[in-house]
């Protein structure tokens, strides 16, 4: 009566077990990375992703880490396979956005599981390093070209047959501001990949490689079936939306445009009409644009859909080459990953709100409010710091938006104030909700945050943020959320000065930086005297 082990056929129970096993391995890789990492951005904020891939580089499972990496991790693996295929014991490092990467601070490490003298599965870990060189500490400068943004690594063999490639590592460390921390974080990624490979080896031993690969294929087919069912539940039709990024001084606001065509269990997403690539770092490479599209449809499919390549098969995504959503070298791209990706999500939601009026929320903060700081501490050690800040979530049909929360393409934690002050010469003066910043409506948009930072040593500071000019929109009569606002005080008693959302500053000891993040849009017309609590 009992089910036969190692049988050739997988039943529904087997699939369910494998689905969670794959996801658990990806999650365990993430835990190994976090627990052995050195920089606050990885160990406290979990700004990383880990995933498993089949022999073609298609995603088998991805940990619930960063949505913005959904579509771009497989491109890293495919670039590694094409340029520098990993042999047994090898690990391939890359960060080139034009060769499988996203933006330069995201270093991706790829390794293969070898079985019977051929690679059958791949693991990859990607972590945001808080500095990879370039013109500014934190490697998120206001740049025209990618060469200003830091060291660019096409796929290269950093671990060869189990041995760290010291020559290559020396080149890498010579090009960054905080070499000790980079070395530690890179080794933590090695630890993550080894953890993933070890678990997969154990699984192969116990269950047989054939069964595992079959399970991976079956799970992708399952996700594809589920996604098609979801798409069939959306009314057929063509839905359009337009929005603009914040303008650069003296330039018109760059236009984002999308057309979503839903028909017969398929979705065509076309970004024709979007502005050409920009002279600043808000350009996205195509894999980021795909990630944003995947994210939106993943949300519509429900929380229990296995995250794998099958789910994306019914989506046909067209991005005009050379536009700001499919930038070409040598465009700068640092903010495409963290800023433009958020705006693509809101754009798509705006289009779909016409198809699914009872499900789609108003615009959320639409930015990640990236702050990088760098300098030399009193004891002579260099430091770099990177953080993204939460804001207001758009109101939903039926509920207020959440306040002070990361939305859509990121879910990275804050750096605890106590960890931040332990590691860096800064002191927080205030960290709270920005009351009244959410858009009014039948359901209110969530409030943004206020973070006030006192600088205790001379630093170079770069802020990359959106939604400083164009506010997050409300839906169906709901009011817009308040746009973000950034101010500095150059010394005690000095006047507060508003600075643009994308700016590089030299701040002296004693100056204070105050960042107010955008609120979410409201939903529905406010009804007098009928406010719910």
């Amino acid at each position: 009566m009992s089910p036969k082990r190692r049988g050739p056929v997988l039943d529904a129970v087997d699939l369910e077990v494998y689905r969670h096993r794959f996801a658990a391995i990806a999650e365990e890789m993430g835990a190994a990375l976090q627990h052995s990492a050195f920089s606050p951005n990885i160990k406290e904020r979990r700004d990383f992703s880990c995933a498993l891939f089949d022999e073609h580089g298609d995603t088998v499972a991805q940990g619930d880490h960063m949505p913005v990496h959904l579509g771009s991790m497989p491109d890293s693996v495919r670039a590694a396979l094409a340029d520098c295929p990993p042999g047994p014991g090898d690990m391939i490092l890359l960060n080139d956005p034009y060769r499988g990467g996203t933006h330069l601070p995201d270093l991706t490490l790829v390794a293969a599981l070898w079985h019977a003298r051929r690679p059958i599965l791949y693991v990859a870990s990607r972590a945001h390093h808080s500095d990879v060189g370039g013109s500014r500490p934190g490697s998120m400068p206001l740049a025209r070209e990618i060469f200003e943004e830091g060291l660019r690594l096409p796929p290269v063999r950093i671990v060869q047959a189990g041995q760290l490639n010291d020559d290559l590592l020396r080149v890498l460390l010579a090009n960054v501001r905080t070499p000790e921390e980079r070395r530690g974080d890179l080794l933590a990624q090695v630890a993550a990949n080894r953890t993933g490979l070890k678990r997969l080896e154990e699984l192969c031993e116990k269950e047989g490689a054939g069964r595992i690969l079959m399970a991976a294929r079956e799970l992708m087919a399952y996700s594809e079936r589920r996604m098609r069912a979801i798409l069939r539940s959306i009314p057929n039709g063509t839905y359009r939306a337009t929005d603009t990024l914040d303008p650069e001084p003296g330039h018109p606001a760059p236009v984002l445009r999308v057309r979503v065509r839903i028909a017969g269990g398929k979705a065509g997403v076309d970004f024709s009409g979007t502005h050409a690539q920009l002279g600043d770092g808000r350009n996205a490479v195509a894999s980021i644009t795909r990630s944003a599209v995947f994210y939106v449809f993943r949300c519509l499919a429900g929380a229990d859909l296995p995250t794998n390549a099958g789910a994306w098969r019914p989506l046909d995504i067209r991005v005009p080459a050379g536009s700001l959503l499919d930038a070409r070298p040598p465009a700068a791209v640092a903010a495409g990953n963290v800023e433009t990706s958020q705006r693509i999500v809101d754009l798509l939601l705006r289009a779909l709100a016409r198809a699914l009026p009872g499900r789609i929320p108003a615009a959320s903060q639409g930015t990640m409010n990236n702050l990088t700081l760098g300098g030399v501490a009193a004891d002579g050690t260099p430091f770099t710091y990177y953080e993204t800040m939460a804001g207001g979530m758009g109101a939903r049909p039926g509920a207020d938006g959440l306040s002070g929360v990361h939305t859509h393409m990121t879910n990275s934690l804050n750096t605890p104030i106590e960890a931040l002050e332990h590691a860096l010469p800064v002191r927080l003066r205030r960290y709270g909700l920005r009351r009244g910043s959410g858009g009014a409506g039948r359901y209110r948009g969530g409030d943004g945050l206020v973070r006030e930072i006192e600088i205790l040593a001379d630093v170079e500071c770069t802020l990359l943020a959106e939604r400083r000019c164009t506010p997050p929109w409300g839906l169906r009569g709901g009011k817009n959320g308040a746009p973000g606002r950034d101010r500095v005080q150059m010394g005690p008693g000095e006047k507060w000065r508003t600075v643009p959302g994308r700016v590089s500053l030299r701040l002296q000891k004693g100056s204070v930086l105050k960042i107010e993040t955008p609120g979410g849009g409201g939903w529905g017309r406010a009804q007098k005297g009928r406010r719910r609590t």
Binding site: A23, I25, P67, R199, N411, P416, I417, Y431, G432
Partner: protein, 661 residues
């Protein structure tokens, strides 16, 4: 009764529906199960002891008082006093959303509303050096505001208080008169990361008055010489110490069953167990691989608790869960429970149809089960209500009753999957241990859904958790943060000696019983990391650290400097050994004799909408050599086990009923 001398030890487990008592006296176990009392659960505790006619030397108590108050948000009115500018830390959390791909995601509102979060101008830096002391005038104004607002409890949470508690202590002294309960974050959890520390402290402040009131009323009843409380980590603490800090006792209720299951597994030499503890109000599940698993960070009701606890998950579904038809015409069960009062319809007072009523309707419960606990059954009322439910659903009453069971089992199946499959453990390799009053009613059906090959029903499953309380061990942990001033094992040794002395003296009153064990650990990390590894403390701790780092993460770097973060000493006493895990019947049980003879041979029960003749046997009548085939109903004191058609059961070692689903 007051004149009887104190004898033996009692394990008392208070659940939402029943209060279970197991007493061990000279190696013999006796037990009783009586309905819980609300709002004062201590009445049932006293009644249970009275029913057994015992005055124990010691009571070990498991209670859900604190957890229930949190889930129902019935904690004390609490204020937060914190560093000015950081009043919203507990509202922002870590700025994350709990699920990633979910447009309808929500977070629970903070336990302290914005107007009761007061800022004080004070500040320390990351090394604990004072930048600004709180002024006495400001603290005075703060105290007046607290008094006016009528709060019962205050959490004092200042930035960097793990490094220097001076400001928090000063504030606690000055605010002492403004509310009966004051908790400081440095007292509850002296660890860095403000949100986790603040949140754990606020939770504790919110719940401590509730636990304190309860333990006071229990203490006034003067039931035993010593009263100990089971903590979330499976160790016990004296009642007075436990009532000062509620956050450590949040899993006091369900921990007993896990300890008993671990002991059972040990005796049966079975490592891999999934536990299912289903009572009247909720169901607790845990995955064991030998020792009960501990975790340091977990969540309850959406709130992080950074204190060690057994890895137990709870779902709000039990025998008393109420079935209803929702607005969309769909059958729902729970999360509301009829509890002990009014209880299921079949007890005669309630009007809401529960899971227990569905079992009764389907013929799977026997009047004898409840009669032995002094409860007559009201079968006609159940029929009437169930027929009404069936009409609303447009199905037969049989299908409606089976539907209620299917819905509640789906919820439990999800809970079991979350801790097994979703962590990468295949439930087919695990045995399902089912206990609690209702565990045996659902165990076989759940085992089939999950693919478990074996179900284990311990002896007297209805009081198994209370038995676990007798197996728990008194324990204390003392730790010291040494970051920055200790760099070698020899420098840490004098601190270790001091901690050990403190730990020993904290357990001195218990020493007469058993052997004292001491464990010494050091928490080390590479300089620059944030997560420590805990290693046995000795002169080779650093070498062990490199090796352990390599084992866990596949890398190590013996040339990189190692930081000593904390040293800790855990002292514990061996748990009392029990000769057997089988309690004998309570003396007052009315129909024990009749049931031992197996006088009710069969009855009709319903399976897949078909009424079938079903054997009814008492557990005592099952012989070691025979196999019992389903459909059958196995009765015993305080619990019923059902074998659906196709299942087979036999009696194994330790009096355990082994079922092949």
């Amino acid at each position: 009764m007051q004149r009887t001398p104190h004898h033996g030890r009692a394990g008392i487990d208070t659940g939402g529906t029943f209060t279970d008592v197991v007493i061990e006296e000279r190696g013999r176990l006796v037990c009783v199960k009586i309905p819980s009392t609300s709002p004062d659960p201590s009445r049932a505790v006293a009644a249970g002891l009275a029913a057994l006619g015992r005055r124990p030397q010691e009571i070990v108590h498991g209670t859900t008082v604190a957890t229930n108050a949190l889930l129902e948000r019935r904690g004390a009115r609490t204020a937060l006093v914190t560093t000015e500018g950081f009043e919203d830390v507990i509202a922002i959390g870590r700025q994350t959303r709990p699920s990633l791909y979910d447009l309808d995601v929500n977070r629970p509102p903070p336990l302290v509303p914005a107007r009761l979060r007061l800022g004080v101008r004070e500040r320390c830096d990351a090394r604990g050096r004072p930048i600004r002391r709180p002024s006495l005038a400001e603290l005075g104004r703060c105290a007046a505001r607290l008094k006016r607002s009528g709060v019962r409890s205050v959490a004092i949470c200042f930035l960097h208080s793990y490094a220097s508690a001076t400001n928090e202590r000063l504030a606690a002294r000055k605010l002492g008169g403004s509310a009966p309960f004051i908790c400081t974050s440095s007292g509850i959890l002296p660890e860095h990361r403000e949100f986790e520390r603040f949140s754990t402290t606020v939770l504790s402040a919110y719940l401590t008055p509730v636990l304190h009131d309860y333990l006071q009323s229990l203490g006034r009843r003067n039931l035993a010489r010593v009263l100990r409380i089971l903590r979330s980590d499976g160790t016990t603490l004296g009642a007075r110490a436990a009532s000062r800090e509620a956050a450590g006792s949040l899993l006091s209720g369900p921990a007993g069953g896990v300890i008993a299951s671990a002991e059972l597994g040990h005796r049966l030499r079975t490592q891999k167990l999934l536990t299912l503890d289903m009572g009247g109000t909720s169901t607790d599940v845990c995955l064991l691989d030998g020792e009960p698993p501990l975790r340091r960070r977990w969540q309850v009701g959406g709130w992080p608790v950074a204190l060690p606890s057994l890895a137990i998950d709870t779902v709000g579904a039990g025998g008393g869960s109420i079935a209803h038809v929702d607005a969309g015409g769909i059958l729902r069960v729970g999360p509301q429970s009829a509890g002990a009062d009014p209880g299921p319809i079949c007890w005669g007072r309630g009007n809401d149809l529960t899971v227990t009523d569905a079992h009764l309707f389907l013929g799977r419960l026997d009047a004898g089960t409840f009669a032995s606990q002094g409860l007559p059954l009201y079968t006609e009322r159940v029929h009437k209500q169930l027929t009404r439910l069936a009409r609303r659903l447009h199905v037969t009453p049989e299908r409606a009753a089976e539907g209620v069971l299917k819905v509640v089992e789906a919820e439990m199946e999800r809970a079991l999957r979350r801790i097994s499959v979703e962590q990468g453990h295949d439930p087919r390799h695990y045995s399902l241990v089912a206990f609690g009053g209702a565990g045996g009613l659902h165990a076989v059906s759940l085992a089939r859904r999950l693919g478990c090959r074996r179900v284990l029903i311990p002896p007297s499953p209805g009081t198994f958790s209370a038995l676990g309380l007798l197996l728990s061990r008194p324990s204390v942990e003392r730790s010291a943060t040494v970051l920055g001033h200790v760099h070698t094992a020899s420098a840490a040794r004098p601190i270790m000696v001091r901690l050990e002395r403190e730990a020993r003296s904290a357990l001195r009153s218990e020493r007469h019983r058993t052997h004292l064990h001491i464990e010494r650990h050091a928490d080390l990390r590479y300089r620059g990391q944030s997560h420590e590894l805990s290693l046995p403390f000795d002169s080779r701790s650093e070498e062990r650290f490199h090796a352990e780092h390599h084992r866990r993460f596949g890398i190590c770097d013996p040339n990189h400097p190692v930081e000593w973060v904390a040293v800790r000493v855990r002292a514990w006493l061996s748990p009392t050994r029990l000769r057997s895990l089988s309690p004998s019947r309570p003396q007052r049980e009315p129909d024990a004799k009749q049931r031992r003879s197996g006088a009710t041979p069969s009855r009709l029960s319903c399976w897949d909408e078909r009424w079938r003749r079903t054997r009814v046997v008492s557990r005592e009548s099952i012989r070691r050599t025979s196999t019992l085939r389903g459909p059958a109903i196995i009765l015993e004191y305080g619990a019923t086990t059902v074998l659906p058609p196709g299942a087979r059961a036999r009696l194994g070692r330790e009096g355990v009923l082994e079922v092949k689903p």
